[in-house]
């Protein structure tokens, strides 16, 4: 088990290094001189030179990469060009909207998908199965931001149950959670539809395995065989999908923030793009990729918990 965890930790480190290199390369190498890019075509040469100095662009590539990475390791993401304040501070505030939103949505996804998928698999071919699977077809096909707009139309504008957007801050946790409710549902329902279908087919697959027949021959009912044996085996493909879904939820959160006027990472990064604040873009993207890689690491560990074959001989 420990060896497996160490091995995953090793590949985690490699993924992070390569990801940081890719992002660094995209931002700092490909487009030419970042300073003149950030200032636009009409910038004065001496302003460009001043910015180059400020950004540390006169150092070599390797030095710049190293100082970027070591900076991030110590919590220093650099200084935003447009906000004139530390990137880490700005991101820190915004992160506390986007990350909780994605995590709540992930929780909702699992909470909805598991019962629905299990129900559909146990009642395979029944009226309940057919209607639930029909509903998931719609859930997969609906764009989450449009679904969010429809919910705003219904719950905020017509029924007035929720405010149409904005975020009151975490000082009032209940109000904050309320503000995240509609966005989280909008994010979760499409992903829950996918996960429910995966859950259903994974369960049906494991139910046709030989060891389920062995269980039935021991005297287990089909239902007991499902809960005691099929479910845990079905978790292996389901976990894979949950890992993938987190990255979709995070990306989705950035988009959904627009519908609800939430001041999260999404709004920050889109502003940064239009203001050519490259350091900001670089930092936000790296942070998001970091979150995705960490979640995938957690999923890898969960695999080992579910599947003893991965733990190796102890």
């Amino acid at each position: 088990m420990l060896r497996y965890a160490l091995k995953r930790l090793g590949s985690l480190a490699i993924s992070l290094i390569v990801a940081s290199l890719v992002i660094f390369a995209c931002i700092e190498v490909i487009p030419g001189d970042p300073a003149s890019f950030m200032l636009g075509i009409n910038a004065q040469p001496d302003t460009v030179a001043a910015l180059r100095e400020e950004l540390g662009l006169n150092a070599s590539l390797a030095t710049r990469y190293l100082s970027w990475v070591t900076g991030m390791l110590s919590g220093d993401f650099g200084t935003s060009y447009t906000y004139r304040s530390p990137v880490a501070e700005i991101i820190g505030d915004r992160l506390w909207i986007s990350l909780p939103l994605a995590l709540i949505a992930l929780g909702l996804t699992v909470l909805i998908a598991f019962p629905v998928g299990i129900l559909a698999a146990t009642k395979r071919g029944s009226w309940a199965d057919m209607s639930v699977m029909g509903a998931t077809q719609l859930g997969i096909a609906i764009p989450n931001f449009w679904f969010a707009m429809l919910m705003v139309l219904l719950f905020s504008i017509n029924l007035r149950w929720f405010s149409a957007g904005g975020f009151p801050g975490w000082e009032n946790p209940l109000a904050a959670l309320k503000a995240l409710t509609l966005p989280a549902i909008a994010l979760a329902l499409p992903q829950a539809s996918i996960l429910a279908r995966v859950m259903r087919s994974a369960l049906l697959d494991t139910l046709s395995e030989d060891y389920i027949r062995t269980c039935r021959a021991k005297g287990l009912t089909q239902r007991q065989a499902l809960w005691r044996h099929a479910l845990r085996n079905a978790m292996i493909p389901v976990l894979t999908i949950i890992g993938l879904q987190f990255s979709f939820l995070l990306a989705g959160a950035i988009i959904i923030e627009n519908v609800f006027y939430l001041p999260g990472l999404g709004r920050l990064v889109f502003q940064a793009i239009s203001q050519r604040d490259l350091i900001m873009v670089e930092s936000v993207v790296f942070l998001l990729v970091f979150a995705v890689i960490m979640v995938n690491f957690a999923v890898d560990l969960a695999y080992a918990w579910v599947d003893p074959r991965l733990r190796g001989r102890s």
């Binding site: 060896r3 090793g10 060891y211 027949r213 062995t214 005297g219 287990l220 009912t221």
Partner: protein
């Protein structure tokens, strides 16, 4: 009182009749062997006793178990019966156990399901006892083992322990040893016979292999196309009257007639062959270990000879075969075909026939293209005449070349595989378990075909098999392989009647034999 009596059982799946009027009976302490080829309905007969049948199955007739009709029981009563009154052992031990649960938990579950008042500790203790009875003592196989940490034979013992944990009156074993090696097979059969004796159980032993069953059954039933064609005692081979039974016995001990005599010049020479595999590293910095699959193997095949290579799974015979075919590199030694190392020039003198008649062909190509694939070695396309000739020499017709492979039966596919091997007129044909997946009657026909072809074309065969009776029937000389080494070599008859090496002796003693009629 009879333990189990099946009376006039007819079974159909979605309206298609599968079993017709099957009647069988079984007493306490008795072993009933049920024999049949694929599609005979023997497994469905077994599953109908437990009522574990595919959706859409309907049964008519009566299945009396301990005085009650199974067919009228509710699903709840059936669940109470399964595992308590009847235990079942399946064919494929590698997939019969839940991979994410310990063996202890899986055996204890049989007890906990039927006796829910049992404490978990008690159930585990009884599971340990059942495992010990099945030859898995706690000091070497603790309850916390997972299935993937055990071999096929050991897993089959766990499945048996699960089935007999509550000492049921009836045990059904569906091809319990088909997936196992011959020595493991003998051990499992011994175990089953011992459990029958100790618990006074009835055992219904389903098999395609007459030899396996006739070694231990008190009574034998022969099934074909969903019907019991004949039933008799352990001396069925003397009392049999039905022509199908006779044909089955004849095919099982079939010895094809061969007239070719080997020349004295070697065709294939294997000299000090060594094949190492790199194992996954144990630690991050340790050096990678290697596993020697083929360890210093040398032998020759003479022109026109038929040489057998026998051994159990993992002995290295498949690796050696692949090395001979040039599919794997050697770490030492040489393999010479007609005096030259195996390479593009001499490859055309050698072809192969594989075991699985279903996986041997690309399902998207027509027979003409499938059969002519080896012409790639000659750098040209096969002519129609050449394809026709190859198909006809294996008993097929030229019209077959425009069909796809799914239109053929298993035996026909194996003929097509032989046609593919023959088409470029090689000198050596490697037969890798080439008849192992076939029913006995088909197997006899293919063996006849192979004998006939070697007479007609002067072919040389390297016949790799785990099945000793087949090797004995078709080869002149035989090699026995164990743990990567050839442990014994000699003329086939001598090897089988007077084995010299202890391992050969074990193998031959473990192989089930048909009674002489």
């Amino acid at each position: 009182m009879t333990l189990l009596s099946i009376e006039n059982l007819s079974l159909s799946i979605r309206g298609i009749p599968i079993l017709r009027d099957v009647s069988l009976s079984l007493n306490h302490g008795e072993i009933l062997g049920v024999i049949g080829e694929s599609g005979s309905g023997k497994s469905l007969t077994a599953f109908s006793v437990l009522q574990l049948l595919p959706r859409g199955t309907t049964c008519e007739g009566r299945i009396n178990l301990l005085g009650e009709d199974v067919l009228t029981k509710s699903e709840k009563a059936l669940c109470a019966m399964r595992g308590r009154d009847v235990g079942m052992v399946f064919q494929e031990p590698m997939t019969a156990l839940n991979p994410v649960q310990t063996i202890g938990a899986q055996v204890a579950e049989t007890i906990l399901i039927h006796e829910p008042q049992t404490s978990k500790v008690d159930a585990m203790e009884r599971a340990a006892h059942a495992l010990t009875r099945c030859g898995l003592p706690q000091d070497r196989f603790p309850l916390g083992r997972y299935p993937h940490e055990m071999s096929g034979g050991q897993r089959q013992r766990v499945v048996i322990a699960m089935a007999i944990a509550l000492q049921p009156k009836l045990l059904i074993a569906d091809e319990p040893t088909t997936a196992l090696d011959v020595t493991t097979q003998a051990e499992i059969l011994d175990l089953l016979a011992r459990l029958v004796r100790e618990d006074d159980m009835g055992l219904m032993l389903i098999s395609h292999d007459l030899a396996v069953v006739s070694d231990m059954a008190h009574r034998i039933a022969i099934m074909r196309n969903g019907e019991v064609v004949e039933e008799g005692g352990a001396d069925l081979h003397r009392t049999m009257t039905h022509p199908y039974t006779k044909a089955l016995f004849a095919a099982s001990s079939h010895q094809p007639e061969r007239n070719a005599s080997p020349e004295d010049t070697p065709l294939l020479e294997v000299n000090d062959a060594i094949r190492d595999y790199t194992l996954p590293r144990k630690s991050l910095f340790g050096s990678a270990d290697t596993f020697r699959a083929v360890n210093d193997v040398s032998f020759q095949i003479k022109r026109g000879e038929s040489l057998g290579l026998v051994g159990e799974s993992g002995c290295g015979k498949s690796t050696l075969t692949r090395a001979i075919l040039g599919l794997e590199p050697l770490q030492g030694g040489t393999i010479l075909l007609d005096g030259q190392p195996v390479g593009p020039q001499v490859r055309r003198k050698m072809q192969v026939v594989f075991q699985d008649p279903y996986g041997s062909f690309n399902p998207r190509h027509k027979v003409a293209r499938l059969v002519s694939e080896p012409f790639h070695l000659l750098g040209r396309k096969a002519t129609d005449a050449e394809i026709d000739e190859a198909l006809m020499s294996v008993g097929l017709t030229p019209a077959d070349k425009t069909k796809y492979i799914h239109e053929f039966s298993g035996g026909q596919r194996q003929r097509i595989a032989i046609a593919r091997a023959l088409i470029i007129k090689p000198e050596l044909i490697v037969l890798d378990e080439a008849v192992s997946a076939l029913d006995v009657s088909i197997r006899a026909q293919i063996l006849d075909l192979l004998a006939d072809l070697s007479d007609r074309f002067g072919l040389t065969y390297l016949f790799i098999s785990h099945d000793l009776s087949v090797v004995r029937a078709i080869t002149d000389r035989c090699l026995v392989m164990q743990s990567g080494k050839i442990v014994e070599e000699g003329p086939t008859e001598r090897l089988f009647t007077a084995p010299a090496h202890p391992y050969t002796q074990t193998l031959i003693a473990a192989a089930p034999t048909l009674p002489e009629s």
